[in-house]
């Protein structure tokens, strides 16, 4: 058994939430650069230029990329040969608390659906836990904005609606969302499982590397087709029109009931802020 000190978890989370709110991933920035070169509308180009200039200002470390520094989402993988004393969820939340305070990040969590009193420290994080083999703890950590999350949805299709049904649902969802979720988007899609599993799959999909390739040929083709079809919608950067509505489409799937075809669409804005850390 490998002994893990939960204070190290707190430190890692704190460092990660500050880092992701000031620094965009290089592969994402290079996709935005390419998109800018590809745009023909002046207005759309100008918006993509703003996004690139914003990245340069934020990385100096004084002003976060976006005022919506998000809800912290953690995909937590705990190896079965790891041992720790205490409450790992509290250790993660302590990292969020310290990171959002010391990093001058906005506290966007409210306690109750109706009295809406701010928790003042951006906790609790939303944490999904998996037990895996090994002697490590791996955390995929995101700061997820509210604007793009609000445009996400779970739909229970019927099995015979098939690929065409999924495509129509995704295209309608992205078109109707328009400029609200801050396109160009990364579209995470979860197909299968059940109601809640599809949503987790979609969330996991937006954490994938932008340049990875799906091992399943049918799903890979669906990702490629949807990428082209979403960009053909013409929603464009911030909804003003143009060739760039999405930067990537990522689909994860899972076995499901014979009667069901659950589809979850988790929309990620262009400011896709996430990282992976391990201990």
């Amino acid at each position: 058994m490998r002994q893990i000190n939960l204070e190290d978890i707190t430190k890692l989370v704190k460092k990660a939430v500050i880092k992701i709110n000031y620094h965009l991933d290089k592969s994402l920035v290079s996709l935005i650069r390419k998109a800018k070169e590809n745009e023909t509308l002046e207005l759309s180009k100008s918006i993509l230029s703003d996004i690139l200039e914003n990245y340069e200002i934020a990385k100096e470390g004084n002003i976060p990329l976006c005022q919506d520094t998000g809800v912290v989402v953690v995909l937590l993988e705990i190896g079965n040969n790891v041992h720790f004393d205490g409450n790992i969820y509290e250790a993660i939340n302590e990292g969020v608390r310290q990171g959002y305070h010391e990093g001058y990040l906005r506290k966007s969590m409210v306690n109750h659906p109706f009295d809406r009193i701010n928790t003042q420290d951006n906790t609790p994080a939303i944490i999904h836990t998996k037990i895996v083999q090994g002697n490590k703890i791996i955390m995929k950590i995101a700061a997820k904005g509210g604007g793009s999350e609000n445009m996400s949805k779970v739909t229970m299709l019927t099995p015979t609606e098939g690929i065409q049904g999924v495509k129509k649902l995704v295209l309608d969802t992205i078109f109707n969302a328009g400029g609200r979720p801050c396109p160009p988007l990364i579209v995470g899609i979860g197909i299968g499982g059940n109601f809640e599993k599809s949503a987790i799959l979609a969330k996991e999909a937006i954490f994938r590397d932008l340049d990875d390739s799906n091992e399943d040929e049918i799903i890979k083709k669906l990702e490629d087709d949807l990428y082209k079809e979403i960009n053909a919608l013409g929603v464009g950067p911030m909804g003003v029109g143009g060739k760039t509505t999405c930067l990537a489409v990522k689909i994860n799937y899972h076995p499901m009931h014979i009667a069901s075809l659950p589809v979850a669409i988790n929309i990620q804005c262009h400011s896709s802020r996430h990282t992976e850390v391990e201990l």
Partner: protein, 173 residues
């Protein structure tokens, strides 16, 4: 490109056409969902609504020596219904991001107001156009409180004008 100085007059609104770049200088006010709800029941607001500009933003906390934190726009549609009584009191410009309801657009035209957008997710860039910020109402709302901002060349685009044009529809491929 059009340069606008606050307060906004009726003639300024007439000059704004969809897709045009606008640089705003002067005083603007922040308000989001909760501040709007409260403003509607406010008999004596701390700023003159007539001729004013409201920016839909909830900034990050400011560091010492900086006028404000990251200050990009939030989605405007959540304020569609709440904005109507303010436009009736003379609110002239709303700045946010994303499309809004048809009902809002009709009310906006009726009240001779316009809706501008600025780049979502560009909060660091936009904050560099804000020279000063001062909390004026609803401190308990934190990031959602109402701030008075002094801005210089604050960059926007006209999204809906009073002539019925809509940036989100006009440019579709």
């Amino acid at each position: 490109m059009i340069r606008l100085n606050t307060p906004i007059k009726d003639q300024d609104i007439k000059n704004l056409k969809v897709g045009e770049k606008v640089l705003i200088s002067g005083t603007i006010y922040t308000a989001r969902d909760q501040a709007h709800s409260r403003l509607l029941n406010e008999s004596n607001p701390a700023f003159e609504i007539k001729g004013s500009i409201i920016y839909y933003v909830g900034p990050t906390p400011k560091r010492d020596n900086f006028p404000i934190g990251s200050s990009g726009p939030t989605s405007s549609y959540r304020m569609d219904k709440l904005a109507v009584p303010l436009m009736e009191q003379g609110l002239k410009i709303m700045i946010g991001k994303g499309n809004r309801s048809e009902e809002f657009r009709q009310e906006m035209i009726k009240n001779n107001a316009v809706y501008l957008i600025t780049t979502g997710g560009a909060g660091a860039l936009i904050s560099s156009k804000i020279l000063k910020s001062k909390l004026i109402m609803y401190e308990d709302l934190g990031a959602e409180a109402i701030y008075q901002l002094e801005v210089k060349d604050f960059p926007c685009f006209v999204a809906y004008d009073i002539y019925g044009n809509d940036i989100f529809k006009d440019n579709l491929l």
